[in-house]
């Protein structure tokens, strides 16, 4: 074998080992979720028999369908709110010329530096005064107000690539600004819209802190909140917990394989995972 070929094999082997490190946990979790209780506490990797008892048990342990419904509703509203409002604001920054625009845009960027801990407590007080505790409003209404500095930035960057001649031609034809935004720019911006939608979905679906603060009523909980509480019990039932995790991961993984490109775009552009 030549040296070059040997290096190639070594690199392949190394990548395969690392792949194992990244993938085995998923397999292990899936296998745990279908193991009978007795087998969970043994060091065997493969289950002796296949059964779905842990999934049935999960439905008794927590109001899974209620939480699912809440999570879906909150996530859906958030995605709609963020995509609509960040594209509106992004349009003003990327497609219209007006005095003061760039200064305001710098202000938007500057707000990215502001940690949410600083605003968290007064915002809680505002929602409490409004009587919005234990409603979905604190989780969804803010999403319609700008949709976050990063998303605005992403939209604006994309909108700036839309040819100015196209916009001006529409203006001369008598198309209004909202008309241009809706009929010309948005259809062109599908990749940007998809990226923002996916980032928002991921963030909202996984969000733990906001529901923890605002949704103390058990019937109002989300899947993320329910999973966290189930894990916080004195003697956690691992197989049931893994069943819950598998079900909660399912839509995320499905979405990933359907829209890989936008996922990767979103992740490489943002540090959103924290």
């Amino acid at each position: 074998m030549t040296t070059k070929k040997r290096t190639e094999y070594l690199v392949f082997l190394l990548m395969a080992i690392i792949a194992l490190f990244f993938l085995l946990p998923f397999l292990w979790v899936l296998l745990t979720s279908i193991k009978p209780e007795a087998e969970v506490f043994s060091n065997s990797f493969l289950p002796g028999s296949f059964q779905l008892d842990n999934y049935y048990k999960l439905f008794q342990k927590m109001p899974f369908l209620q939480y699912l419904q809440n999570s879906v509703l909150i996530t859906l509203l958030s995605v709609i709110g963020v995509v609509l409002s960040s594209s509106l604001v992004g349009y003003a920054f990327g497609c219209i010329d007006w005095p003061g625009r760039d200064h305001l845009f710098y202000l938007v960027i500057a707000t990215m530096m502001l940690p949410m801990q600083v605003t968290m407590i007064p915002v809680f007080v505002i929602f409490k005064e409004l009587g919005w505790l234990n409603t979905f409003k604190p989780l969804t209404v803010p999403m319609f107000l700008g949709g976050g500095a990063f998303n605005i930035f992403l939209m604006r960057q994309f909108f700036m690539t839309v040819p100015k001649s196209l916009l001006d031609a529409a203006r001369i034809d008598g198309c209004s600004e909202p008309g241009i935004w809706w009929k010309i720019v948005l259809p062109l911006a599908k990749p940007a819209l998809a990226t923002v939608a996916i980032l928002t979905f991921m963030f909202t679906w996984n969000d733990f802190l906001t529901p923890l603060i605002y949704l103390s009523d058990k019937a109002k909980g989300t899947l993320a909140l329910g999973l966290g509480q189930l894990a916080g019990q004195q003697q956690p039932e691992w197989a049931v917990l893994m069943a819950a995790s598998v079900l909660m991961m399912l839509p995320v993984i499905l979405l990933f394989f359907l829209f890989q490109k936008y996922f990767i775009q979103g992740f490489t552009m943002s540090g959103i995972k924290e």
């Binding site: 690392i18 946990p25 998923f26 604001v89 502001l114 803010p142 691992w238 490489t268």
Partner: protein, 297 residues
Amino acid sequence: MKPLKKNTLWGYLFVSPWIIGFLVFGLYPMIMSLYYSLCQYDVLRIPQFIGLRNYRELLFEDHYFYASVWNTLFYTCIRTPLVILGSLLLAMLVSKAARGVRLFRTIFFIPSIISGVILSVLWMWLLNPEYGLINTSLQFFGLQGPLWLIDPRWSKPAIILMSVWSLGGGRMLVFLAAIQSVPDHFYEAVEMDGGNWWDRFRHVTLPFISPVLFLWFILEIIGSLQVFVEAYVMTKGGPLNSTLFYNLYLYNKAFDDFDMGYASALAWLLFLLAGIITFIQFRVSKKWVYYSGGTGK
């Protein structure tokens, strides 16, 4: 109406959702938070102004505060270089065209789509000292694994291990994109001079990707300082406060004790700390970050 005036009107109209959001959920809360930090405030009664007492108590009497600062700094200082270095190595490994390399990229990235509670719950089970995957695997090689989340010495490393697993693949793609944007003729120049792979990395790749590295160094540090969900779900700050991270302590003060004034002071100190660290980073960066087409911007 003149077109300019019309544009101004439309501009502000389109931006107005953000302006409302910024005033109500950004500017006003910021001012109030600063005010609360100078008050005794439990949400039920009106805030009582007490001057700098919260800050004095934090800095001179509260050993939990220092424990949380220590835990968070430890976490940040170990995790940041591990994630950056690990993902950079991964990116270099998958940057060459080789058999299966595209599949490996996808596989390395997959853990990045899991975060927050799910990630924490998965790893609680993986890190289970007796039956978890990690210690079972170590046993397979004849090694006795530590108690991880139950042992105060191993609880922080356990959470760091988890975040390297979950962040490595995502950052890998960022660095991969940067590496692939390096023009080939620079490498050829090094090869003509008889340089090896280290020279190629040291003199071509590293200078080229240093702006990206720098940006992610800062993002990584800011992200690490925010660690919360992991500790809240996995350890509740234990054992022996070894995972009482800053934001967990802040959350406990605010929403368990309802000591909103004290928690607001904590928030402002964190803001200050993050600001100082970022400032230092920018100063140090002048020594090693290379911007092409400028004389050290």
